[in-house]
C-alpha cells in the first residue's frame, strides 16, 4: 500500500464499517431512550444495550484500525488484525453500495406493489419488473416467470391454506383477491 493510501478516510467507507456506525447510532439512541427518568421498561434492556454498544464499539475500533493502517488481507490465521481479530474476517469486503441499493430498492418495490395492488397482482408486477431489470429477460419470458411466481404460487397456497391474501388498496376489481383492502393501523 502506498503512503497516501494508508490512513485515507475513503478506506473507512466499507460496508461493515458503515453498518457498524448505523447500529452504534441506533443502540445509542435506544439507550438514551431507556435512560429517560420516565422510562419504566426495566434496566435489563439498558444493560443489554450498553453491552451491545461496548461489543460493537470494540469491533468498530478494530475495523477502523484495520481499514486505516492494516495490511492487505492475506489468508494466514495469525494476521495482525488486532487482539479482537477473528479467523476469517481479515479482508473487509469492498463496499458494493450499488448491490445494497438494488436489494433495498427491490424489497421496497415489492412491498409498494403489494401494498397498492395486493399480494397476487403486486408480486406478479414486482417479479415482472425484476426479471426485466435485473435478469435482463425479454418481456414475454419475464411475464411467464411473473405469472408463475407472482400469481400461481400465492393463489395455490392461499387456496390450499384457506388464506385471505392482502388485496391491495386500489378499488375492488376481483373480490377477496384484487382491490378493496383496508389498511390496518400501524
Amino acid at each position: 500500500m502506498s503512503a497516501t493510501e494508508a490512513g485515507s478516510p475513503s478506506r473507512l467507507f466499507t460496508v461493515p464499517i458503515v453498518v457498524e456506525v448505523g447500529l452504534l447510532v441506533l443502540f445509542a439512541f435506544l439507550l438514551l431512550d431507556t435512560l429517560d427518568p420516565d422510562y419504566r421498561g426495566g434496566w435489563f434492556v439498558s444493560a443489554t444495550l450498553l453491552l451491545g454498544l461496548a461489543f460493537l464499539g470494540l469491533v468498530f475500533v478494530r475495523d477502523v484500525t484495520v481499514a486505516l493502517w492494516g495490511r492487505p488481507a492475506k489468508p494466514t490465521p495469525a494476521a495482525d488484525t488486532g487482539p479482537l481479530g477473528g479467523d476469517d474476517d481479515e479482508a473487509l469486503p469492498a463496499a458494493d453500495w450499488r448491490t445494497i441499493g438494488d436489494a433495498a430498492a427491490t424489497l421496497a418495490g415489492v412491498f409498494a406493489c403489494i401494498f397498492v395492488l395486493g399480494v397476487v397482482l403486486g408480486t406478479a408486477l414486482a417479479a415482472w419488473v425484476i426479471f426485466i431489470w435485473q435478469s435482463k429477460l425479454n418481456a414475454g419470458k419475464a411475464l411467464i416467470g411473473a405469472v408463475l411466481i407472482g400469481i400461481v404460487l400465492p393463489v395455490l397456497f392461499a387456496l390450499a391454506l384457506d388464506l385471505t391474501l392482502w388485496p391491495g388498496i386500489i378499488p375492488q376489481l376481483i373480490p377477496d383477491w384484487v382491490g378493496g383492502g383496508l389498511v390496518p393501523p400501524l
Partner: protein, 517 residues
C-alpha cells in the same frame, strides 16, 4: 422415567396414518429441496410452516422431522453425482464424492453416503437419548436464576464458535435480545418499549417474521444479487449416470468397515450440533479435517477417498441429534431449523424450556422417531431416485430468490394476516443481508431474539424471588458454575486472541513469539 415411559405412545403415533403420511410427505419434500441446488431444508420448512398452523402438533413435528432428516441425504446425491452441493452443508461431500462419479463409481459413493448417513443419524439420536436422562434430574434444580445463566452461557459459547470475531458474535446476540424487547414488557407492569407510537409494534416483532426474514429473505437477496454464490452446473458438464444396484448395496455396507471413523466423525457432528448456532458446514469440515489428520491414506483425500466421504456425511446426519439436545432440554435452538421448530411450538401455544420434556414428551418423541425413520426413508429415496439426479433442473437463482420471497410473504400472512408483517419480514430480510455483509452472524441474532424474552422474564422473576438482591444469581451451585463457565469462555477467547495478536506482532519484528513452547 416419565420421558422414556412415553416411548410406546410415540411409537403408536408413528404408526398412525396422519403422522406417517406427514413424515413421508416431509421426507419427500426435504429430499427434493436438498436435491435442488439453491434450496435448503430451511426453505422447505418455510414452505410447510403455514400448513402446520392448523395441524395437530404431533403431526406437524413429523412433517418437520421428515424435512430435516432427508434434506442432508438429498443434498449429498447432488454433491456426489453433479459435484454441486445440494445444500450448503454438503460442501465437503463434493470433495471426494464427485471423484467417485468421475471414475464411474457414483452408485458406490451414493451407497457409502446413504449407509453413513444412517449410522451418523443413529449415533446422534442415541447420544441424545443417553444424555437426556443425565440432564433431566438436574432440571429439577433449575429456577429462574439458573435458567437465566444457562441461556447466557449458551449465547456466549455460541458467540465464541460462530464464524468471525467473538465480539461480532456477542453483538449479534445482543441485537437479537434488543429486538425481542420491542413491545409490551418490563419488570413489573408491562409498558410499551421502543414502539415509537406504533400500535403495530405493541405486541412485539412477530417471531416467524423475524426468523424467516433473517434466515430466508436475506439469503434470497444473495440469490437475486450475488450470482457468483449461486451453485449452478451447466447441463453439458453433467456426467451421465446409471444406478448399479450391486455397487450401491456394496457401498451401503462399506461404512461398517470403518467403525472408529464413523464414531469419531459422528461424535464431532453431534457435539457441533449441540452447540447453538453452529451449522452443518462447520461440522462437516471439522469432521473431514479430523479424518484427514488420523488417516493412513492421506494421499487419497480429494481423489475419491472413502474415509473423506464417510467423514463428511457422518457429521451432517449426526448433528441433528445433537441439535435436539439444547432445544429439548433448555429451549435453546441448535440451528436455524430448530429455531423454526421452536417458532412452530410457540404458535401452537407450547413453551420451550427446561420443563418441555416433562410436559410434551410426545412431541419430543415425534421429532426423535421422525428423524430416525426419515433417514431410513431417505436412504430408500437415494437408491430409487438417484438416476434422476443428473436431470435435476438448474433453477435460475433469480427464480429461486423471488420464489423464496413470495413464500416468506405467504408464511407471515398465514400467521396473523397482517399487512405490516409483510413489511416487517422484508425489512428484517434487508437487515439480515446487511448484517451478513458486515460479517455479523444472523443465526446469533435469531437465537438472541428467541431467547431474549425468556432471559428477561427469568431475570426479573429471579430478582423478585431474591427480593431485589442481585446475589440471587450466585446463590446456588448451578448458578455459580454456569456464571464461572460463562466468564471463563469470555476470558479464554480474549486471551487466545491476545496471544495470537502478540505472536503476529513478534513475528513481524522478527522476535520469537513463544508459541508452541
Amino acid at each position: 422415567m416419565e420421558f422414556f415411559a412415553k416411548l410406546p405412545e410415540g411409537l403408536g403415533h408413528l404408526l398412525s396414518l396422519q403422522p406417517l403420511l406427514a413424515l413421508i410427505a416431509g421426507t419427500l419434500l426435504g429430499f427434493v429441496f436438498g436435491l435442488i441446488p439453491g434450496l435448503q431444508s430451511i426453505t422447505a420448512l418455510v414452505v410447510i410452516l403455514p400448513f402446520t398452523f392448523g395441524m395437530d402438533p404431533i403431526v406437524a413435528m413429523y412433517l418437520f422431522a421428515g424435512v430435516i432428516g432427508a434434506s442432508g441425504q438429498g443434498g449429498s446425491v447432488t454433491a456426489i453425482t453433479l459435484g454441486v452441493p445440494g445444500t450448503a452443508q454438503n460442501a465437503a461431500t463434493v470433495i471426494d464424492g464427485f471423484q467417485f462419479t468421475k471414475r464411474g463409481e457414483a452408485s458406490r459413493a451414493l451407497g457409502i453416503a446413504a449407509g453413513t448417513a444412517m449410522l451418523g443419524a443413529t449415533f446422534g439420536l442415541v447420544v441424545l437419548l443417553l444424555f437426556i436422562p443425565v440432564f433431566l434430574p438436574f432440571l429439577l434444580y433449575f429456577g429462574p436464576a439458573e435458567i437465566f445463566w444457562i441461556m447466557a452461557f449458551g449465547l456466549v459459547s455460541m458467540s465464541a464458535v460462530l464464524p468471525g470475531p467473538f465480539f461480532k458474535g456477542l453483538f449479534g446476540v445482543t441485537l437479537g435480545i434488543v429486538l425481542s424487547t420491542i413491545g409490551y414488557g418490563g419488570p413489573t407492569i408491562a409498558v410499551a418499549r421502543f414502539n415509537f407510537g406504533s400500535s403495530y409494534l405493541l405486541d412485539g416483532l412477530d417471531l416467524v417474521a423475524v426468523i424467516i426474514g433473517l434466515l430466508v429473505v436475506s439469503e434470497s437477496l444473495v440469490y437475486l444479487f450475488d450470482r457468483k454464490r449461486a451453485p449452478v452446473l451447466p447441463a453439458s458438464e453433467r456426467p451421465r449416470m446409471k444406478v448399479q444396484w450391486r455397487a450401491f448395496a456394496a457401498g451401503l455396507i462399506e461404512p461398517a468397515r470403518y467403525p472408529g471413523l464413523i464414531l469419531r466423525c459422528s461424535a464431532i457432528g453431534t457435539l457441533i450440533g449441540a452447540l447453538p448456532g453452529i451449522g452443518g458446514v462447520i461440522a462437516q469440515f471439522m469432521s473431514y479435517n479430523a479424518a484427514y489428520a488420523t488417516s493412513r491414506h492421506k494421499e487419497e483425500f480429494g481423489k475419491g477417498s472413502v474415509e473423506g466421504l464417510i467423514a463428511s456425511q457422518a457429521a451432517i446426519d449426526a448433528k441433528e441429534g445433537g441439535s435436539l439436545l439444547p432445544t429439548f432440554i433448555f429451549g435453546i435452538p441448535g440451528n436455524g431449523e430448530m429455531a423454526l421448530v421452536l417458532a412452530a411450538w410457540t404458535i401452537h401455544g407450547l413453551h420451550p424450556g427446561p420443563f418441555f420434556l416433562s410436559n410434551h414428551a410426545d412431541l419430543a418423541w415425534a421429532l426423535i422417531l421422525g428423524l430416525f425413520v426419515s433417514n431410513l426413508l431417505a436412504t430408500g429415496l437415494v437408491l430409487t431416485c438417484s438416476f434422476v439426479a443428473a436431470r435435476v433442473p438448474n433453477l435460475r437463482p433469480d427464480y429461486v430468490g423471488l420464489s423464496i420471497i413470495v413464500m416468506a410473504v405467504i408464511a407471515v400472512i398465514a400467521v396473523r394476516s397482517n399487512l405490516w408483517d409483510i413489511a416487517l419480514v422484508l425489512a428484517i430480510g434487508l437487515l439480515g443481508y446487511l448484517l451478513g455483509l458486515a460479517r455479523i452472524s444472523v443465526i446469533g441474532v435469531v437465537i438472541g431474539f428467541i431467547l431474549g424474552r425468556l432471559m428477561e422474564f427469568n431475570f426479573y422473576t429471579a430478582l423478585q424471588s431474591g427480593l431485589g438482591q442481585l446475589s440471587i444469581f450466585v446463590s446456588s451451585v448451578i448458578s455459580v458454575v454456569l456464571a464461572i463457565a460463562t466468564a471463563a469462555i469470555i476470558v479464554l477467547v480474549i486471551a487466545r486472541a491476545m496471544r495470537r495478536f502478540w505472536a503476529a506482532r513478534m513475528a513481524r519484528v522478527g522476535l520469537p513469539s513463544g508459541e508452541g513452547r
